[in-house]
């Protein structure tokens, strides 16, 4: 690999590491006082009556709000932890619930390569947590 190539890869990994670090540095209680939300392209009634297990199982540990989204965009589904629920788990639960309600299932990732290389291993650290990370 040439030098420019290495620099580019290193930059990618730096972004990747930043994603991981940001996740680790976020204390659970920081997210605890804000609502996490997704908009589901289904009616509030449908969301209410068929809340997927991924989210329903946290029912006792979160405050949950279901309200119509503006402009016919469906339903806003919001949760705020009342107990010790990692924000990572809640993001994952919200995304999975949305996918099940809209598309019937959560698409599974393809199996990872067997020899990702050192940079690829760092990236795998990120992707292993990416389902519960992000700006949600």
């Amino acid at each position: 690999m040439n030098t420019a190539g290495k620099a580019l890869l290193a930059a990618g990994v730096a972004t990747a590491v930043a994603v991981v670090r940001r996740r680790r540095r976020t204390p659970q209680d920081q997210s605890a006082d804000r609502w996490l939300a997704v908009t589901v392209y289904r009616s509030p009634e449908e969301v209410q009556s068929s809340l997927p297990d991924d989210l329903a199982r946290w029912r006792d540990q979160v405050e949950l709000r279901i309200q119509p989204a503006t402009g016919d965009k469906g339903t806003e589904l919001r949760v705020k932890p009342t107990g010790e629920v990692p924000a990572h788990e809640l993001r994952l639960a919200l995304r999975r619930a949305k996918a099940v309600l809209e598309a019937g299932e959560v698409v599974r990732a393809d199996t990872a390569p067997t020899h990702p290389g050192p940079m690829g291993k760092v990236l795998q650290l990120v992707t292993n947590r990416a389902g519960g990370g992000g700006r949600l």
Binding site: A99, D110, P113, G117, R135
Partner: protein, 389 residues
């Protein structure tokens, strides 16, 4: 099975990888027949999109035959011949329902990466890095197609395999540039880049009513191909001043619609090329927006610029002043393939949209590395290398 894998920067190799399995009810397994390289892959090869792992199967523009379907697949049966859009789509989120398919909410399995990078995550793509879902690509004997009912489209009898292949990615991409760029009857349209995407954008502009279409590149063999396939006018930017040629062609106004089909590794004959290359090597700039700058500068007042070329991050010297003061509309998108593919297949069947000339180099997958080398270096008059499985 055999598959062409990314093994590092500028290093692709055929490897043995496990056969794909049905992982979801709505999955199907496709036996790939044809799979082509795309300009977007070059951004992976050079490391512009640094979210790759060694051993990742690449390739996202393909067609083939259905061999196995999950319990939730209703529109396809084993034996069906289908073209698969490069974007994996659920078909039922708000974005899919509004035909903004590449923005699908439910198909990127690693949303955190692009949410941090861009503020929100687009949909998943085959073989296009872990930032876009980490799905295995199509340069392989078999590929798993998630949400198969929505991601894959049946090919009409009258369309042969090679013509259908490009309906996966380059044809809908080009069409989208002309359509969402707002091409109208009587327009003058300029297209930067004379690869498959630029050529398809030029043809789409003609079919949408443009009166004159000018395509810009430095490779004469590509410009000649576009001239003879579609009767477009051409500008070789290595020999002619693009700005002057466009003013001359438009009576001093500038093109009504400018379509950029070059991307983040644009080339230039001017000093700005060296500037951009140095800056991107030093990581002070991620992408080289040379053609975008030129499109914005040369577009007529109140005109529209559509960015089809792939960019990944931040650019330098973006002509915001020209955009603002000339009242331009600038738009870009990854392709919303499912919105156009059925219509495009019909146009291919009717003969008004020719695509198969793009396949200048057809070869077995075992020659994958050579195929990429030819395509990357634009050697031997290569427009697209196509792998026959």
């Amino acid at each position: 099975m055999k598959a062409l894998c990314w093994e590092g920067i500028n290093d692709v190799r055929v490897q043995d990888v496990p056969d794909p399995q049905l992982l979801n009810d709505q999955d199907m397994i496709l036996k790939v027949r044809l799979s082509t390289v795309c300009g977007s892959d070059l951004h992976l090869l050079t490391g512009h999109i640094p979210f790759m792992q060694a051993g990742d199967v690449i390739g996202h523009e393909f067609m083939g035959e259905v061999v196995e379907v999950g319990a939730g697949v209703t529109r396809h049966r084993p034996g069906d011949r289908v073209v698969v859009c490069s974007f994996i789509v659920c078909g039922r989120c708000w974005y899919c329902r509004n035909e903004l398919y590449s923005l699908c909410d439910n198909t990127n399995t690693n949303p955190a990466i692009t949410q941090h990078l861009w503020g929100a995550d687009p949909g998943g793509i085959f073989g296009y890095s872990h930032a876009m879902g980490g799905f295995r690509g199509s340069h392989a004997e078999y590929v798993r197609v998630p949400f198969a009912d929505h991601t894959a489209i049946p090919i009409p009898e009258a369309v042969d395999d090679m013509s259908a292949l490009f309906a996966s990615d380059s044809v809908p991409t080009g069409w989208m540039g002309a359509d969402l760029g707002g091409v109208k009857q009587g327009d003058v349209v300029a297209v930067w880049g004379c690869g498959a995407v630029g050529q398809m954008a030029a043809r789409a502009a003609q079919l949408l009513g443009a009166e004159r279409v000018l395509v810009i590149d430095r490779f004469d063999y590509r410009l000649r191909q576009a001239e003879s396939a579609f009767g477009v006018e051409t500008i070789n930017y290595a020999e002619t001043s693009v700005g002057e040629a466009l003013l001359e062609a438009t009576g001093g106004r500038g093109p009504d619609v400018c379509i950029e089909a070059v991307g983040c590794e644009a080339h230039s004959t001017g000093p700005q090329y060296v500037y951009d290359q140095v800056k991107s090597k030093l990581k002070l700039e991620m992408d080289r927006p040379i053609a975008v700058r030129e499109a914005i500068y040369n577009c007529r007042k109140g005109g529209s610029v559509f960015v089809l070329g792939v960019f990944t991050g931040l650019v330098d010297k973006f002509p915001l002043g020209a955009l603002m003061n000339k009242g331009l509309t600038v738009r870009g998108a990854q392709q919303h393939g499912q919105r156009y593919i059925p219509m495009l297949l019909d146009r291919i069947a009717s003969g008004e949209l020719v695509t198969s000339h793009l396949a200048t180099h057809v070869m077995p997958l075992s020659e994958g590395a050579r195929g990429y080398e030819l395509f990357k270096k634009k050697e031997d008059d290569c427009v697209r290398s196509v792998f026959r499985l």
